[in-house]
Symmetry: C2
Subunit: 235 residues, 2 copies
């Protein structure tokens, strides 16, 4: 936790918060904070700043907050992701938040197991929890938007063309395709497939909606690693 993120409900006055949960525990056990110490804070979807620890008890801490600086810029990107398996999904939420992705669309695909859609990790609170962890890692305060699209074809045919319009549209896909471009200056719409990859029919539809296949070499990466590698290369 490189930043302590403050929720609306933490505020007891304009510049005062009281913390009682894992953030209190983290201050006590990892930071070993003492009264008078200053910690980096941010307000969820708001500014970053510092907070002074006014009172520290076993069950709660009170801090005086000063927020003044803007969070880091997000990437100019919409990320389409075939729904990963639940365990990977949690880590991917952290990774996209850490890397500065502003919008993720979770998509069905032929090779996404139907059971993956039943995971409790897709509950809004569970998503938010992982996003917060990723933001705290990166010292960002702005939650990415997560959109769930359970039907591939209507999304790709009807809504993707509008999303991809005036962006560099790419779909990561192993095979005889151009290498993923580097250091682009445009906005990007990037789709990353499931374990086992997109099927040809899906690649055809994604192409027709404006995404061109690009590859990252012959090594097959886990979804989380592929997300990081593609973003590090593109931006």
């Amino acid at each position: 936790m490189n930043l302590l993120l403050l929720e609306e409900a933490d505020f007891i006055a304009a510049d005062r918060v009281v913390l009682r949960d894992r953030r209190l525990k983290h201050m006590q056990e990892v930071h070993r904070a003492e009264v008078g110490d200053t910690v980096r804070v941010g307000r969820v979807n708001g500014l970053l700043g510092n907070a002074e620890l006014l009172r520290l008890e076993a069950h709660e801490a009170e801090l005086r907050v000063e927020l003044q600086s803007a969070p880091p810029a997000k990437l100019p990107l919409t990320l389409l992701l075939a729904l990963p398996r639940p365990k990977m999904l949690r880590r991917v939420f952290q990774t996209v938040a850490t890397m500065g992705v502003p919008k993720v669309i979770l998509l069905n695909s032929y090779r996404v197991e139907k059971s993956f859609w039943q995971t409790p990790f897709l509950e809004p609170d569970a998503i938010r929890e992982q996003l917060i962890l990723g933001l705290e890692q990166a010292r960002d305060s702005v939650l990415p938007e997560i959109v769930i699209e359970k039907r591939f074809k209507p999304f790709v045919e009807d809504r993707l063309p509008q999303i991809a319009l005036d962006t560099l549209g790419l779909v990561g896909h192993p095979g005889d395709f151009p290498a993923c471009p580097r250091a682009v200056t445009q906005s990007v719409t990037l789709a990353i497939g499931p374990e086992g990859g997109w099927i040809p029919y899906e690649i055809d539809l994604l192409r027709q909606s404006g995404l061109q296949p690009v590859q990252l070499g012959e090594r097959i990466l886990r979804v989380e690693t592929a997300v990081t590698a593609l973003l590090a290369r593109l931006f």
Copy 2:
């Protein structure tokens, strides 16, 4: 598991293996393989190829193996890594194997907690297990070399200059430094610090031994994410 890696002990003849462990289970439960099916295989530190499933029983499987193709090339890189916390360490072993890093040197640093060196995940068998998982993911067969250097100063002063000689020497470090270069053509020696970063004294010593600080932007990445992002940018 995109490749089934075969150990010397699996071979009962030049072209026959018998499997009984997690690989058998994986074939049964994930691949749902049947007699006559072909699976991708590789021999640890050897060639890649295919194997035909000759016999499949509850407790063991026999396969006929044909090995003919070379594994993918490794990156021209020596990676120095401040020892990560144990849970992260296991994932980092997988990631470096997947990404094609041929040699990793695990290093002490001021901000590495002493207790991290006691983890059972540093036992040779535990390291090997994670590397194998990473290789299976990437369809590679060649184990990276993992070197443990528990004393920072003698390593950096006495041995690092020789390692970094005739390579592009870099140390990832947040701050007012040049951005990490892209698409380099040379061999690289890259050092990545602990959570919380290198201390100035360490940066000075690394510089004197031939590594120049480079940064990846203002977001602070977990070690695993930083490794992937730096390699995707460099190569």
